[in-house]
Amino acid sequence: MISAEHNPFSVSKIHKLPYRFKIKDVEAIMENWYYHNNQGMISGGHGVGKSTLLKELVFVLESKQEKIRFVMLNDKREFGLKDLWNILQLDKKSILVIDGWEQINFIYKTFVYFKIKRLKGFVGTSHVRTMVPVIFEASTDINTFLDLVAQLVSHNNKLSLPDLRILFDKHNGNIRDCFFELYDFVSDCDRENMDTTSSG
């Protein structure tokens, strides 16, 4: 058995991977955001790196001393009345960031749409098209996935993995689900067949 702290596909190790851009750099996305009056959505399917990219954009905005209000939503964290209230209290110098726009119900979305027009800016992630302009369409490809896996297992030369191309196709490019399956695969590996001197 490979313990969680030695599994190269633990979430903490994956979160240390930077977003791999296909375009030149994050400034190009920011220019697109500025062009759309500081409003923008990062669109894309499940597990393609939208949240990772969003965090890097937030880092850029924070480095510019911007006032950020970050709301992260997922299937375990719903958007509620308190979130709406907090957003409605934001002043016009604030930039609202919402990761998981599609988690917000229609009624709350209406109020948030109304508010974001009165803020300094908004950037979010969504699986579907919205009324907010798309500033970047996130996607993955097999080469990106292979490179990410190579980075994660670089200290584990003995590690045997399943066919990564088949895995990528099986999950329709959802890298997050690919990593979950790789985690499960490795955790059942015989520890003697793995070099456990990986960094963590």
Partner: protein, 118 residues
């Protein structure tokens, strides 16, 4: 070159045992010599990380380099453990907020000397 380090004579402790350690620092060309020590745990594994800070000690180094000893009482829980889906890891960390420099050491807090393996 600035650096921080944590020195421990042993890394396995029982709950409520006294954890004795030293912090060594060299903060070249740093005017803000405030440092923070954190005793915290975090989870590692398949799911989202969780974290809990048990104790924080803030102190001013008052010199660009030096060494100081500390003592913290180990918490009663949670215990360190190692599992397939999740492990819980205790750490002592020292941070220089001004420079973002940090150092950490993993310690084990379990009722016996053997690690807990799930």
């Amino acid at each position: 070159m600035s650096h921080l380090s944590i020195l421990l004579e042993k890394k396995q402790f029982r709950p409520n045992e006294s954890i004795e350690f030293s912090i060594e620092w060299n903060l070249s060309n740093v005017t803000d010599q405030n440092l923070e020590i954190h005793l915290f745990w975090h989870t590692v594994g398949r799911g989202t990380e969780d974290l809990g800070v048990y104790e924080t000690i803030a102190f001013n180094a008052q010199s660009s380099s030096g060494k100081k000893s500390f003592r913290i009482k180990a918490p009663a829980h949670p215990y360190s453990f190692s599992g397939k889906l999740v492990s819980l890891i205790w750490k002592i960390e020292v941070v220089s907020p001004a420079t973002k420099l940090s150092a950490s050491e993993v310690i084990q807090i379990t009722p016996s000397e053997s690690p807990i393996v799930l």
